[in-house]
Symmetry: C2
Subunit: 415 residues, 2 copies
């Protein structure tokens, strides 16, 4: 029978075998005494199983509150692998999550516990369609080949009217942008109702597409209650939109999957709230595990932060996240990594050197909108940066070669 | 215009005013340079506002990774309050969450950030129905007055057949139990299909109700995809069930609200995964804030852990959580706090002394199922414990007075 494996990074003052056994017990039998009906046969079939324990270092101070070590004793770190039969939950994603990420974070025997990765069985690839569009569908829809999709976020995040937003989109479309998105704070605001914004923006995008053949992808922030999302989804389809954005953590797994299952729009998965789940090195979940769950749900584009971002995340972590998205999961489409946060083009060189892929949605906010030549200059500068990066130019060489990019370097390069 | 206030506990190496301003900026304008269109009028209407900063202590070591203090400098802690106009998001819960708990956890200027509480404006009380049943509806449905509802979890968590489960439920019903639930690991397993389990259990519960007039509340674990949940919800209603359980973190806010909005079943909100969101003192969210979001979604019963629980959480935190649930939010129903984890009756005394409420669902797993006289003895012992606690007896006095409870003390009291 197929099994699912959860790979955890743990810390405990207990012997590793004992702590791992507590985890497996909590996540399959879960009470403090033997109970009637728990036969050996039942345990063999349904109990979690500790598959592997790889001891790492020991430390003097616990990472998070939990059981105390005896005086002079240490807190032991390890990688452990625990498996469950798919007979326990079948293809039910929320129950899978409760199994992999449920009460185990409460176990006092651990002073650190992070889900690092998940191994999914082959039948999951048959059951779950995964991203309907992913990299292939996103780039095809926006008519992009041989380079990353270039995108921007409408800023200020919130407060612009549909008319002003649409005028910005027009400027960006004419500048050759591939992708524009709502900010995650903006869905339907007092002065920018969702439907009004769709009307104003899609008029611009459809007109531009009729004229040029290129349809700019706009990710309208659909996040909301299930019925509202479905109603607005239909509205988007009728308006000729190609993409919708979902704040995946805020909406949750079931609501997001319901939206993805409609299958007509590219789903842009915004991971705001991610820091809460990941920022501590020994609590929560790492991106390689996280992205698999959202791929199963069917998300087509997934945020991964960016090199030299304005947030706390390290460049190494960003590179690992891009690699995780690009690694095939079963045979289906692969989600498009969305690179963003403080990006202005200067980071294109290191991003390329460390990932050697153009299968990215490369997002710049201020880096486009605040370019000295205006948004038009911003879009051109980003395209130049990527052209230069892929050619193997250094940032300095690209600055020599591309005048718009040179202006970006002058304005943003000193940050 | 009404505003929503987020109350945060923060840590930063920067001056507090500066760090708070970064948070407010990120959560309303959010890029690193001024952009066209961001007028003063727009800022006044839509920008986040720092309302209050209360400095606390300073420390030498950062709580979580982020910006470093200068050599010899400190990390400053504070309580801060930030507000947003409801014009930004209206009554959209996921966008509210993205505003209160979105990218702000990524801000490098913070070395700690936890959402402690939320102040909601009056119109939220008109827009959101909240729990349809809550304390009143739960107790009425199960026919309980003047004492906590007594409940248990079917253990082993997973692996029993519907027939064995139903036989256990029969024993428990005859023993006078008020509430039984699936474990969160169990929804539809290979040897216990959801519908088969419903059939077997509701046959027992309905028969018992016909005979005695008391309908035991069984929380079937509905957690799953939206369509599956709705289909199974209907199945439960038709079978005469009164309650469904949702693993709220795993299903997410939109899916959970959709289930609550059906309005025919009490929704038992299981918070497995909570440790990931709360266990670190300076990362994530505290229960007073968390429970408000799920009350808005309409959850009727909410897990709060228990006194002397088997997990890491302190008794003080458990008491605060019970108080948070019981505190009225607007005029609607109040969610029933679900006390569980390592409970066997001995904790009834301190639970009563510290909360002075019987508006609880008091859950024991092993404490009931592994009682020396069997589950029947376990249920009686718990009722006795609460009767004694409310009478003002000490544990020792209750042990003298109640023989079944005395056996619990003998078996579980030495843990």
């Amino acid at each position: 029978m197929e099994r699912i494996i959860g790979k955890y990074y743990i810390e405990t003052p207990y012997p590793l075998e004992k702590a791992a056994a507590v985890l497996a017990g909590e996540q399959s039998s879960g009470t403090f005494v033997a109970v009637p009906g728990e036969t050996e046969e039942l345990k063999e079939r349904f109990a979690a199983r500790v598959e592997k324990i790889t001891p790492l270092d020991s430390v003097d101070t616990p990472a998070i509150p939990g059981a105390s070590a005896k005086p002079g004793a240490k807190y032991h770190r390890a990688n452990i692998e625990v498996s469950w039969s798919i007979e326990n939950f079948g293809y039910n994603l929320p129950v899978l999550v409760s199994t992999l990420q449920g009460n185990l974070y409460e176990i006092t025997q651990f002073t650190g516990l992070k889900l690092m990765d998940i191994e999914l069985p082959a039948s999951y690839g048959e059951h779950f369609i995964g991203p309907r569009f992913g990299i292939t569908g996103s780039k095809k829809s926006a008519g992009v080949t041989g380079r990353p999709m270039i995108g921007t976020i409408i800023k200020p995040s919130i407060g612009l009217t549909p008319q002003v937003t649409a005028a910005l989109v027009k400027t960006l479309a004419e500048a050759g942008i591939d992708f524009v998105k709502d900010d995650e704070l903006q869905s339907s605001a007092a002065n920018s109702k969702f439907e009004d914004r769709v009307d104003a923006i899609m008029r611009v995008i459809n007109t531009h597409a009729d004229k040029t053949g290129k349809k700019v992808m706009y990710a309208f922030n659909l996040s909301g209650e299930v019925d509202d999302m479905l109603r607005r989804y239909e509205y988007l389809v009728k308006a000729g939109a190609t993409c919708a954005m979902v704040s995946i953590n805020s909406v949750g797994l079931s609501g997001t999957k319901k939206v993805c299952d409609q299958g007509q729009l590219v789903i842009h998965g915004h991971r705001n709230g991610w820091g809460m789940l990941n920022r501590h090195p020994l609590l929560g979940i790492e991106f390689p595990a996280y992205q698999k769950l959202w791929r199963l749900a069917g998300v087509d584009q997934l945020h991964v932060n960016g090199i030299q971002n304005k947030f706390w995340e390290s460049d190494d972590s960003v590179v690992r996240s891009i690699e995780a998205c690009l690694k095939p999961l079963f045979t289906g489409e692969t989600p498009l990594p969305v690179v963003s946060s403080g990006q202005w083009g200067g980071q294109a060189f290191e991003t390329w050197q460390r990932t050697h892929t153009t299968d990215l949605l490369y997002m710049a906010g201020g880096g486009i909108m605040a370019h000295p030549d205006g948004p038009t200059g911003g879009v051109v500068a980003l395209q130049q940066a990527w052209e230069g990066a892929v050619k193997g130019l250094t940032l300095a060489q690209a600055t020599q070669q591309y005048p718009e990019f040179a202006k970006s370097v002058e304005k943003f390069g000193g940050r």
